[in-house]
């Protein structure tokens, strides 16, 4: 039995992820280890093919490692069955995607209610919490609108509200500004920072060093390995020294 530090939320222990591509094997993650504590704002950064999406899928309980262990809140995720994985996604994790991933036929409020729906929360309570979450992102007036009636930045705020509604332990943001212009990107990043200041743990996955620099801590991946893990302020210097300007 592993002794678990109560402050550690996410722990990767020598994680390998090997994909079979025809005859050849692709090692998307190669002995990745790190810990993320409660209240941290961590950016996992790397170019495409660096293994950051693989790490994000594993953190999000959407995928399982080939070797190694992933502990989420002290629980080895390898021991979860499909239903428990779904429950972990529902209760522990809030996803924010690059493409917002809102359901186009549901209203903004119904979209935000979805995680609560799967958590089997009664309708009245669901509606209350969804409106609360929408108020936090400043969209309380848009409850009845369809996502297509909102701007890109507003849609991304809806998806943040959806991630917040279930009150998860971790907000997992996958290229949240990837589809936004620089001004709305700024808004969304400020918003994530505010959430972090309010005590939420945030894991940001990005290929953009500029965006990653907004986090407190950076985990840089290259070819499936961790090449830097430390404060964001030092990252630029290290990057410069190693000559890997993204």
């Amino acid at each position: 039995m592993k002794i678990h530090d109560v402050n550690t939320l996410i722990e990767f222990e020598k994680i390998d992820k090997i994909y079979q591509m025809g005859d050849s094997e692709v090692r998307a993650a190669d002995g990745v280890s790190f810990k993320i504590c409660k209240g941290e704002f961590v950016a996992i950064v790397g170019q495409s093919g660096s293994g950051k999406s693989t790490c994000m899928n594993i953190i999000g309980c959407l995928d399982v490692p080939t070797h190694g262990h992933y502990y989420l809140n002290g629980r080895d995720t390898a021991t979860l069955d499909k239903n428990e994985q779904a429950e972990f996604r529902n209760k522990m994790l809030g996803f924010v995607f690059q493409q917002y991933n809102l359901l186009p036929k549901l209203s903004v409020q119904e979209n935000v209610e979805l995680p609560l729906l799967y958590a089997r929360i009664p309708p009245a309570e669901r509606a209350r919490r969804a409106r609360e979450a929408l108020a936090r992102v400043g969209l309380e007036g848009k409850c009845k609108n369809l996502p297509s009636q909102l701007s890109g930045g507003q849609q991304q705020r809806v998806s943040i509200a959806r991630a917040l509604a279930g009150d998860p332990s971790v907000i997992l943001a996958d290229e949240p500004t990837g589809a936004l212009d620089s001004r709305t990107s700024r808004e969304v990043l400020d918003f994530l920072k505010n959430l972090n200041a309010g005590g939420n743990t945030i894991v940001l996955i990005t290929h953009d060093n500029g965006i990653a620099a907004e986090a407190q801590r950076i985990i840089r991946l290259q070819d499936g390995r961790v090449v830097y893990d430390g404060p964001a302020v030092d990252a630029a210097r290290v990057q410069f020294a190693e000559g890997v300007v993204g």
Partner: protein
Amino acid sequence: MSLRQSLHMALKSLAGSKLRSLLTMLGIIIGVASVIILVSIMQGMSQQMLSEFTKMGTNRLEVSIFGLGESSRTVGVADLEGLYRGHRDVFGSMSPRVDVSAGVSVGTKVYPSTKLAGVSEQYQQVEKLEMGAGRFLGYMDVKERGKVCVVGPYLARTAFGGKAVGQAVKINGDAYTIVGVLAQRGNGSRGSEDDQILLPYSQARQLGGTVSSFVFATKDASQNREGRRILQEMLYGVYRSNDAFYIMDNQQIVNSVNKMNGTLTMVLVGVAAISLLVGGIGIMNIMLVSVTERTREIGIRKSLGAKERDVLNQFIIESAVTSTVGGLLGIAVGVAGTFAAGIIMKMAMAPALDAVAVSFGISVIIGVFFGFMPARKAAQMNPIDALKYD
């Protein structure tokens, strides 16, 4: 996910693409409507047939005698009356029947449509005739060859303005006194069963009619078989051939109509089941397309914590709602079609409620059954692949 939410979403997605939903449901609509219309028409027709036979009484046997041409062997009224008296435990009443063709007139007006028949006083009991006015023919009328008659309500109404008793009707020029008027049985129209004159068979024979048939009423329809056997034995004894006579048994006819009804219903149910099956396959087909189209949605739902069971339920409910709505539309079309068929065929037709219930039930079951495969496909999708799907 809650049932109400699923239902709400399923209805919304149905309403979202109306033409496509309608085409998806078409198989079920046609299947359900055709079951209802076909079963209703068939039940309506057999009901009508049965009601005519039961009106006559199911305990009725009718013996038609054709004779054997050149053979001198015959069966007369006395022979069958003797048989009747010998089997009073089986037969309640009997009457010979002599069909006569003769000119009927009242005053100067001729009634060519009116049928004439000679019968005995027991004919009333055999055929369960009710009197509208006056009395039926009596024993003495038959014995004395009285020139009396009982008329149907058509003649009483049109020739005598309703007051026919005591009046006279001319048959082949001879005046017959009307002693009674029959109560109306059919629709009372010209040429119907209400347009007839009954006179003593003894007198009818004088008008050139021959005894062509006998009607018997058994004490109870359950004795029909025994009555048939007695008549058969006696008549075969005389003619030595089954071609010289025919015994019609109302109970037997009712039974065979019922049996035919049952068989036809089974055939129709089989045809309907096939069409509903085809409808179900149509739904499955569209659901499979829908699941593929909505791969991304499934991925999103799974990333938000939907379990396989949640996704499975969502798609099964959607499929069941599609087929249920199809079933309801099919019922509407079927009920309307049944009434339309009733108007076209000029029959009182009511939608068969059992067909409505069964076909509706089957359409719901089909939705669940054929929705299962696509729903399972959706439920088992890998969330990562589903999220990446464009």
